[in-house]
Point group: D2
Chain length 281, copies 4
């Protein structure tokens, strides 16, 4: 059966993937959720028709949203993930044995439920079996407003700035995150593609710099995201992601990372000229 | 008119782009050449149905095939490009004023001719007006066999290892290139996607290591290539691309590079774990 | 979610339909069965990746495979359907109150089972509730070999002549059908598209004419079939589909037919020149 | 090169065809004109992105817009085509030797010019070589307003009722056509697909019946048009398309028609129930 999923990255370009079927299709209170099976990328989760994660390349996204901050902060114990209902970020955080508690605050309970059911390789740590993981089905903004000065690291594992995630790209939100972090806390947020989303990035980094003293962009290759060239914002109160990076500590990690490593950590912050210029102060 | 070009990157995944028309379609002695106009990426050249270059993202490929070697070699004077009939590599080489002569050896005269006619922003230095550029319409293997010990740098700007370029990925070819380089010469070759072409890469790097003492892979984001994650092989007789890199010289370059810069040069060699492991000795 | 099903009608042309999901996907002993949901045509059944029926346009196919023969034969009592596991042909036959028994001989039990479950508007008469309908999950050839001289009408409601249906287009099969019909029996078989399948038709009608004294082609518009222009073979021992057609009896039918009517019956046999010429003796 | 043209027949369904290139793309004062080359259907003309004619299946459309009226009218001498700038209708009219003058009134000169250049098999009679053909580049409404009581037959060979052709589906236009016809004149107009355009048809036939005493729909299969099931309106002052049809005269025509023939003429007026009901008085 010639069934193809196409995601338009703009009106004029897209990625197209052969599909063997839909595993789940439903509308939550917040968004349309689909989980489909693809021949090249395995199971794939879509929110409002856009690719969120695929089994084959999620390792890139989850390595890169989690490990840079966790290896820069000298002793991360309390970690919050906003969004990230597939569980992949929590899975990576759990590999850091020093983390005492990772909290997942996801607005859409259906995403969590269906990830546990259909994407167990990602959701393995959010199924209730790990006492170091706490789930909150709640709006991220509401949650952090009531949990100020609590976290060493906050990961904003959100969708694109349309739909339920639009507030997660604004200065007010970053102020709340800043307050929810301890005095040496670090926030990491996915920050779209330098190739296709230059305007969104310009605003996002301006908003971040209005709040955090240290703001750096880093990059990763994610084949199923628009252009394949993706970025993350590293916003920090105290630690610089390169100058304060303890390469030896990262090199001696006791778990395998298929994408991240101690050298790539540094290289990820070395950006193409056009990407750097776009978000320059 | 809803006219879309789709390039399958495997049987099960591809990129699709809206097209406004074909500017040229023809068969040379060697391959099918098409130049089409796309709304997102501008004019695009295809060989045997595969994207070679697009106006919008060619800056990445051409920056990255040319500048790393030209900034590592202390005094490149004689440079050879094998393939590269669109002229983009030659254009970048010409920005290095110390280069006395850049030779383009392209097997397919039609590619050169149509690039000059339809892709002038790339072919600007191969139209006969620059005395520092020499064109040979010839088979690369034949050419280097007769030009041993002549070049400081050889860039292998080839198509994928199918069709006319298949020989350009084999050990015999690398031995010829080795011989055509002076005793401190450097070869750079495009080396496919770590994500989709792991087997091709494994063989290619094994073949290169059988010939060159220094062989390193570096990476670049090229949205219109399979997965967006692309790589180049840096094969060198004497200079190491990182240890022998003069960051200051690269930083003080007198021309603009939209992708390449002195930091990105270093970061490009810091590879994801899976990519590094695949080509490990 | 931008999920599209595409059926290639040749290497170079196809139909494409937006899909909201797969309702069933599975492999039987004989073929791949998929039932998907489309926005334009409702639920659609595919065998080996090809459209068999859709909720929106099945009325054309089922009206036209069933009613012409049932209105030409003066008193059809015993009717056999070979293939047709979706039940649509049986549903139309049941509208003729004089029919005493309609037998469905479908090789693939999974098609029947899933039609009853997912396509109830077609399968309404094959769910076991109607004593005038008998189901046999069996090979059509084997079945008719053991039921000679039994039927007034046999409808060959088969897939294309690839896969399990290939034997249903050959002379040997038509001889068996001839034998299974009573001395004034009629066979109707779907006979592909005059536009795309001229060679298949040429052979099929030659084979039919070697067996039956009366063989005529008639046509119907089926939007989801290749070219939209489809045909049926009327092969008969005694009754001619036009000369022996009782227009008044058809006009006074006591049920509604959305496609078929007494005038269209006649018009269906008036073929375009190219279609007629292709199957001329 | 995997270049595909897709025409959406609704938001949720379309036809897709492999293309080897664009032969012409340009914007006239009235519309976007593209002529592309397809592997399955040969050269194809598009207006505002919609298929108008293809080399492979234009014979159906042009046979069926022209011959029914020309064989019903006992002595057609003056024929007008409104639209039809590709020349296919004129070519068919010219096969009727009794026609003294066929006038083509096409609003868009670019369509005529490019058809002569790129579609010579259709435009063969509008290239200026035939003294029985007269060209007017003009608005059809303006033209017939000034040519009342002049024509035996008027063919409205228009695009869909969007863009420049929208006025050609309204009652005011039909009144002008009525006036431009002699007292026994006949108008034929393409009247969209019964399957996809039921509402447009309902209005169009209501408008026609407000003006003409005899209005009948007839059908043809056109694979590249939406659903493949197409229709024409036969609107006449005196002659009925079936009752006044001289089958013998049509049967003894001295030219070949690949689609039309004297029996098909009759069958074309025998419509499916749903199509007939939709336009019933």
């Amino acid at each position: 059966m010639d069934l193809w999923y196409t995601e338009k990255h703009s009106d004029n370009v897209g990625i197209t993937m052969k599909t063997t079927g839909t595993l789940f299709s439903g509308k939550s209170e917040f968004q349309q959720l689909d989980i489909i099976d693809t021949l090249e990328y395995g199971k794939m989760m879509l929110l409002d028709g856009l690719v969120m994660v695929t089994e084959r390349d999620e390792f890139v996204y989850h390595d890169m949203i989690a490990h840079p901050a966790l290896f820069v902060h000298p002793e991360p114990k309390q970690v919050l993930v906003i969004g990230g209902g597939d569980g992949g970020s929590i899975r990576e955080i759990m590999k850091h044995k020093g983390v005492e508690l990772a909290t997942l605050c996801e607005i859409d309970g259906l995403v969590i439920e269906k990830s546990i059911e259909l994407l167990p390789s990602m959701a393995c740590e959010i199924d209730g079996s790990n006492p170091r993981v706490k789930l909150h089905v709640d709006d991220g903004l509401a949650y952090i407003r009531e949990h100020q000065n609590e976290f060493d690291i906050i990961l904003v594992d959100s969708t694109d700035p349309i739909g339920p995630a639009v507030g997660l790209f604004e200065e007010d939100f970053y102020r709340l995150v800043f307050g929810a972090l301890k005095e040496d806390g670090i926030m990491v947020a996915q920050s779209e593609s330098p190739f296709y989303h230059a305007e969104i990035q310009k605003n996002m980094y301006k908003n971040l710099r209005a709040v955090f003293p240290i703001v750096e962009m880093y990059q990763a290759f994610i084949p199923t995201y628009p252009s394949g060239f993706w970025s993350f914002a590293f916003a920090s109160k105290k630690y610089h992601p390169v100058k304060d990076f303890d390469r030896e500590r990262a090199a001696s990690r006791d778990f395998y990372t298929k994408y991240y490593n101690e050298d790539l950590h540094l290289g990820a912050f070395m950006l193409p000229t056009f990407a750097k210029e776009n978000i320059a102060d």
